[in-house]
Symmetry: C2
């Protein structure tokens, strides 16, 4: 299991490509077989498979082969490392805005929620 | 103003580098002058400046020169595009977990909150 920084690096490199992001976007809806994933792209199958391999090495997707059909799925929690990193980059001003938001919610008159 | 997909692409490419992420992490605390940013890295200043230029072109940071001193800041909302994209990639299972969470919160007995 790679550490947090290594994992972040691998995931960000995997996502810094529009084709791979499009694959992730499709798989966020449901798992898909490779031919379905290939359909929207005017790309040779070996190139698509290479992108899938990068995503699989980054543990963003996993795939299973049944007979001749390979089904690809988004791994649960695959993007958690990115959520975590983004949360850490909140500036003091943003934290202050959060606290103000909480304060306003708590002190709002009853009935106005 | 670039569109959402272009902006996402530029920001992810900028963040897919550990030095640039370290700069963003430092700037999330407070603005900093270039010499401060350079201090933790065993890197020639021109290389650091090149990383800063990538972040500036991606509109993740901005910089201002007063006399000989250049101060770099994280731009407010610079990472919003990434928050937005991540939110869109929530799987149906994650959406369901969210709804379940809301349901449990709403139906929890009074006094247990």
């Amino acid at each position: 299991m790679p550490n947090y920084r290594d994992r972040l690096d691998v995931v960000l490199r995997a996502l810094a490509d529009p084709t791979r992001r499009a694959i992730v976007e499709r798989l966020a809806q449901s798992p898909a077989v490779v031919s379905e994933l290939a359909a929207p792209f005017s790309m040779a199958l070996p190139s698509l498979m290479q992108h899938l391999r990068v995503l699989e090495d980054a543990e963003v997707v996993s795939s299973q082969k049944h007979g001749r059909v390979r089904t690809v799925s988004l791994l649960p929690g695959a993007l958690d490392v990115l959520h975590l990193w983004l949360a850490e980059q909140r500036t003091p001003a943003e934290h202050q805005a959060d606290r103000l938001g909480i304060h306003l919610t708590r002190s709002s008159p009853k009935g106005i929620t």
